[in-house]
Symmetry: C2
Amino acid sequence: MTMNASGGRRRPPTIHDVAREAGVSRGTVSRVLNGGHYVSPAAQEAVNAAIRRTGYVVNRHARSLITGRSDSIGFLLTEPQERFFEDPNFNVLLRGCTQALAAHDIPLLLMLAGTEDERRRLTRYITAGHVDGVLLVSNHSGDPVAEQLREAGVPLVACGKPIGLGSKVSYVAADDRDGARDMVRHLLSLGRRRVGMVTGPLDTPGGVERLAGYQEVLAEAGLEFDERLVVSGDYSRASGEAGAERLLAQASDLDAVFVASDLMAQGVLAVLQRAGRRVPQDVAVGGFDDSPAALASSPELTTIRQPWDRISAEMVRVLLAQIGGEDPAAVILPTELVKREST
Amino acid sequence: MTMNASGGRRRPPTIHDVAREAGVSRGTVSRVLNGGHYVSPAAQEAVNAAIRRTGYVVNRHARSLITGRSDSIGFLLTEPQERFFEDPNFNVLLRGCTQALAAHDIPLLLMLAGTEDERRRLTRYITAGHVDGVLLVSNHSGDPVAEQLREAGVPLVACGKPIGLGSKVSYVAADDRDGARDMVRHLLSLGRRRVGMVTGPLDTPGGVERLAGYQEVLAEAGLEFDERLVVSGDYSRASGEAGAERLLAQASDLDAVFVASDLMAQGVLAVLQRAGRRVPQDVAVGGFDDSPAALASSPELTTIRQPWDRISAEMVRVLLAQIGGEDPAAVILPTELVKREST
DNA sequence: TTCTCTACTGTGAACGCTCACAGAAGCATG
DNA sequence: CATGCTTCTGTGAGCGTTCACAGTAGAGAA
């Protein structure tokens, strides 16, 4: 039983204590702390030793007060939270961002803006300068929070291309169009010629891009665009089922379907099998996301994997660069075709 | 195009600006900000109006510098992260804590201590006083981080009963023992008399408590404890399969199994079905956790639901109370039996 | 010698807030 | 009329840093 085990928190050592211990001035200690320029090797060493001996840790509040930086970053989710927290990709993203920031000794503040109240509160918090920048997860077209932050000049990096925010906002996204191209090329390479598509919502960039990739490859291959082969969904399983039913009605001769999400693809599989079509023999099915749904389906889904681990790392890199004064940037990362049983 | 859309962040108004605007002194503004005691209604109103007009938001760094509080809380995960981020219960917990803290205007810092380096870094960060308290997710017996934090007198609330940390650490946990009792009573109420169990790891409180509940109910019912009916696992699906095989070999006459996790229960179901036992007709199976695995199994698992939403709320409540000077507390919350197809 | 330049070090001020204290005003009590 | 009490208000100090500036010491050039 030591004395301080009884709950009392001792006042931690300050830069003053370190200076005294090392026999130098506050200024010198501060310089060592901030990169060690214009400090003699001897002083450098003395200060480092004193820091080790005293267990000194910089008081970030005092530092922030004068620098105006907070040395912390907000991770802001403005979408309904349930959907995202259940999404394993979101979890990879959150974890990746936290770790990438940790490497720079920057804490991540988790900000959930579900209700209007919380949105207001967090907007004020952020624009008051309590974080240096924001990692934004939002698919709202014209998200008011994002818009306000942009206006206030808060460094911002979105996950996925934001709609209607002009070019002032950085973003990191997977190459939806190229992923779609890969998948459709794959389906064509299997000899399929009547390739249908269930798109995502066409007011999201992902939805638009995936459709564009599909159309491009068909055009490349000299196949005429048949609008009966294309129906739209909203990424949900139910909309996949509805889409598949419409496709079967409009174009019953189809021999492949590219579905813009794995969840919808599950619905498509169910409808096709109910209709007596064998997958992949009669109809090949390709999904998008490489979500757990892809592995849980039977047959297991061929799908497009988005590089979520790299996305988080890039988001952090771009945000820190922007805080450092660089211009907003857009980063598009390549996707990967994962072949499984459904094609 | 407004001027400040071009990226320049204006210096935010300070307490000084508010005081001037309201025609009072800094002290009065500060008093209004901190509860409004000893402030005349007139001054109160003038200050609030000035705050609204100027868009003032308190500078937390300046406040923290003098109060010694940081008004922020760390959410610390010292376990391997993959396992937890994939666990939907963990997500509910993280979300719940964030929201409960948001209601008090307290930001949550996400801290992932996967490697030894990160553990050291975060320990220093926390003990330096950069957070007022820590919400801890850790099942390590004798977690060194938790031990150090406790020694340093950092307010700490663990999720689940921590092992080997003495009574100085608060915790919030589901009533594992009572949950187990409910499940075993339920199995007995179905007329089953040869009830087996696959336990969790017996170096965790959860593992021990669930086994204890099982034994208690059997004793109550006047059934003799048969050690051949009990095997241990580690919560993984694979260990559930292994456990079921051992059970079938040791006690092939069993007519029910209580499995200490849903994931293990999935393994048990698979083995039972492979061995030609019908569930629930021949053998009833009960799980624990109410994870998605419970719904994904066929038949769907009867299981014990832990109140994760309440756990997060209680963790925050207890932590804030402790920061406010109250003694460490242990909170045990009731579980719920969810009946499905497997019993 | 004197001046300039570079490498380094110490010092006071300031960041924006809270806290302790002093004091004023109003009212009741001796 | 003094005294005490309560309610309210303003002021100065200080929290632990960084930053700008002034200053020192030594080397090299004029």
